[in-house]
């Protein structure tokens, strides 16, 4: 199975000491490493206001992780760990690789089009930054 990219965000109680948060992150990293995953990024956003109350708290300590993994039960295990730990009040995992793929496709398509367009605009009129009037017409004709 090919590798998948996930975003994992969890929120701890604002009263959690730093070491506790570091410990949770360490255990998660351990789990990921055990199952052949890779941690791309770990960001501590720190304590910030939440948009609504969670566990009777208005603030939460946000931690963001970006990870890659291929094993299907990796996320299950991570979420189980987060669920049982008392300090964590909310967590979310999002699979992103398909969206990234789509994004790259779009970028590629735009570049291809950009490569084609200069020739046309050069024929119509000189200048890399043409005025809106003449520029829109060839573009409309192309599409």
């Amino acid at each position: 199975m090919e590798e998948r990219l996930y975003d994992l965000i969890f929120i701890c109680l604002p009263t959690t000491p730093e070491e506790e948060v570091a410990k949770i992150i360490a255990t998660l990293e351990q789990v990921i490493a055990d199952r052949g995953g890779k941690v791309e990024k770990v960001e501590k956003w720190g304590t910030r206001k939440m948009a609504y109350r969670v566990a009777k708290q208005r603030e939460g300590y946000y931690v963001y992780m970006s990870l890659r993994g291929a094993q299907p039960d990796l996320i299950k295990e991570l979420e189980r760990r987060l669920k049982v730990s008392d300090a964590v009040i909310k967590y979310m995992t999002v699979r992103l690789d398909e969206e990234i793929k789509r994004q790259q496709k779009l970028v590629g398509r735009r570049e291809r089009r950009a490569r084609q367009r200069p020739r046309k605009s050069a024929a119509a009129g000189p200048g890399p930054a043409p005025t809106p009037g003449p520029a829109t017409e060839p573009a409309a004709a192309a599409s």
Partner: protein, 110 residues
């Protein structure tokens, strides 16, 4: 006079419903100007994401997404923001994700 009216729809955050409904009726192409002289020229809105060539709307940018929700937390309709259909679709997904991790409200409590 025309200038006053063209500017009116832009800060639509303040008084959305009336303006929005009217704009929607006009946008559907059917109704036209029913109420006398309320027909006015509207400046064409451009999709903010298309201008910046955004390919992926990040759900983590809560502050940016905040400008696409109303005071009570509703997602703003396209007719108010001018977002194109493609980006509106992505925006909706991003806003819903942001809501799930309390970056955006589901509904603001009063």
């Amino acid at each position: 006079m025309a200038d006053e009216h063209t500017q009116a729809p832009r800060p639509s955050h303040s008084g959305p419903p009336r303006e929005g409904r009217f704009g929607g009726g006009g946008g559907a192409g059917g109704g036209g100007p029913r109420r006398g002289k309320r027909q006015y020229f509207r400046k064409k809105k451009v999709c903010r994401f298309c201008v910046d060539k955004v390919d992926f709307i990040d759900y983590k940018k809560g502050d940016m997404l905040q400008s696409f929700v109303q005071d009570r937390g509703k997602i703003m309709p396209r007719r108010m923001t001018g977002t194109c259909s493609k980006h509106q679709r992505w925006l909706g997904v991003a806003i819903k994700r942001a809501r799930n991790i309390a970056l955006l409200p589901f509904a603001t409590e009063l």
